[in-house]
């Protein structure tokens, strides 16, 4: 469903992604893990078609992100770190606008709106102005705008940030249920969240892929746990930096 090949992204002299390759089949929930600045958000921005690459290619449903962006964008729902919300609009009005923008057929609007109202816990808030909502509810509207047009690929950049524990459980359930018809990429800093929602874990560090395993491998006892693997990767990174610093001295 999603093919990422040798993806490289430079910000000036800083290399955010270093020939990253990934293949994500349909129906998979992929958890993207890594320390701050590892390149998670950059990867997601590129896959959603928001940002260009320095080199490499991304294709969704065999459409190249850069050659046929409109086809790709129809198939993708994206929740960035800061949810894109028009604070002056009402929730329902906003979601309707997203449906129109994403070319959803008119006769599906009301069905999809009630679906997200139900599953994102927005039933009582549909008529409210977004600016008057609390952070948690805004995050839910952000999730709603990513899935309201029923896209084949859904990209969540830290979807449960700012939610209370009950909401987090609900949203995790929602993400799991999406796996049936959608392909999901999600990034998070909460390690247990990955085990609970994802079927596959990919760790990236300094723009490189460092681990790619199914969640079952982590939960079974014969291998190292997710947390240990993560810490090992990050500490290797720190050790590497120290060696470099010594070398510089």
């Amino acid at each position: 469903m999603i093919e990422i090949k040798n993806l490289t992204k430079n910000y000036g002299s800083f290399r955010a992604l270093d020939s990253l390759s990934l293949s994500i089949p349909k129906g998979q929930i992929l958890g993207l893990l890594g320390p701050n600045g590892a390149g998670k958000s950059t990867t997601m921005k590129i896959v959603s078609g928001f940002m260009s690459t320095s080199s490499g290619s991304v294709s969704i449903d065999s459409f190249d992100v850069f050659e046929s962006p409109l086809e790709v964008k129809k198939r993708v729902g994206y929740l960035p770190e800061i949810p894109p919300l028009y604070l002056d609009m009402r929730v329902e009005e906003f979601l309707r606008y997203v449906c129109e923008l994403k070319h959803l057929a008119k006769n599906e609007f009301s069905g999809r709106l009630s679906f997200v109202a139900e599953h994102c816990g927005l039933k009582d808030k549909m008529k409210q102005v977004i600016g008057s909502l609390s952070k948690g509810y805004r995050q839910r509207v952000g999730i709603a705008q990513a899935i309201v047009h029923n896209p084949e690929v859904i990209i969540f950049d830290e979807p449960t940030v700012g939610l209370d524990p009950i909401q987090i459980i609900e949203i995790r359930k929602l993400i799991k249920s999406l796996a049936l018809n959608h392909t999901v990429i999600l990034s998070t800093h909460i390690l247990p969240e990955v085990v609970m929602t994802c079927s596959r874990v990919v760790m990236i560090n300094q723009g490189k892929l460092v681990a790619d395993k199914s969640v079952d491998e982590f939960s079974s006892n014969n291998d190292r746990s997710l947390e240990e693997t993560y810490l090992q990767i990050v500490s290797q990174d720190l050790a590497g930096q120290k060696v470099q610093e010594k070398g510089a001295l």
Binding site: M51, K73, V76, L85, L87, D88, M89, V98, H103
Partner: protein, 259 residues
């Protein structure tokens, strides 16, 4: 398909002008201010043409009244229109909503054009409301329509006002795409509009020669007010509008490499 995209964004943009009372207030103040100006000009005109304590009656056509009225309206536009263009893109950046537009199946130029059209719609609303003033002249002139203003000149005046206003908005759209804050966009739009204004004044000082004369915004606008449709004046406004829209679109495209 692109008409549907443009319509969708245009509709939303136009609506969003009225989420806060700002636009309504500006339009209201504009009409009231123009009303007062119209009243003052009309009084002055009647005083001059009918004579009285200030001297003998003078022969002044009513078209001169309309001309100075519209020249002043254009000055008001210079100050009011930047408020309608300042937020077009800066707000999308500030609220991070540009991401939504740029990850939707809509081309960059469709976004640019839809936003520009929504600002033009506001300009059109203002111009339509201001039709009450020439209507007044036509209805109440002595001898009915025959003694009233030349409707051809009124038409070209409105065309000139629309083009000049559209140019102010296009320049405003460009600054709004380039800069990150509404206030900065507002200031730069004012500055550019003033720059064009000053250039015109200095060109008039130079006696209407050479390149400065071709870029003389006031002179081009004046042509419309005097009822002459000159190709070079049309080209002047349309080319600046086109160039500003082109640049705005380039800035928007470059966001994919910068953010």
């Amino acid at each position: 398909m692109f008409l549907k995209n443009i319509f969708c964004v245009w509709k939303k943009e136009l609506k969003s002008y009225f989420y806060t009372p700002l636009a309504s207030v500006f339009i209201g103040v504009f009409i009231v201010a123009m009303g007062y100006m119209f009243y003052s000009f009309l009084r002055l005109y009647l005083m001059l043409t009918q004579g009285g304590p200030y001297g003998m009656p003078q022969e002044i056509g009513i078209d001169r009244l309309a001309e100075s009225f519209y020249a002043n309206m254009n000055v008001i536009f210079l100050f009011v229109l930047p408020f309608f263009s300042m937020g077009l893109f800066t707000e999308e950046l500030r609220k991070n909503t540009l991401v939504l537009l740029m990850t939707s199946p809509i081309r960059n130029w469709e976004i640019t054009l839809a936003k520009y059209l929504s600002a033009l719609s506001i300009l059109s609303i203002m111009l339509l409301l201001s039709l009450v003033f020439p209507a007044f002249l036509v209805l109440y002139s002595e001898g009915g329509a025959a003694g009233g203003p030349d409707l051809g000149i009124i038409f070209t005046s409105y065309l000139g006002l629309f083009l000049n206003g559209a140019m102010f908005l296009a320049i405003g759209l460009f600054w709004s795409a380039l800069l990150r804050s509404q206030l900065m966009a507002l200031i730069f739009t004012f500055a550019s509009n003033f720059g064009l204004w000053m250039m015109s004044s200095s060109a008039q000082g130079a006696g209407g020669q050479g390149a400065a004369d071709s870029a003389n915004m006031l002179q081009h606008f004046q042509n419309f007010l005097q009822g002459s449709l000159e190709l070079k004046s049309l080209v002047f406004f349309l080319s600046i509008i086109f160039f500003a829209l082109f640049l705005s679109n380039k800035v928007l495209e470059s966001r994919a490499w910068r953010s």
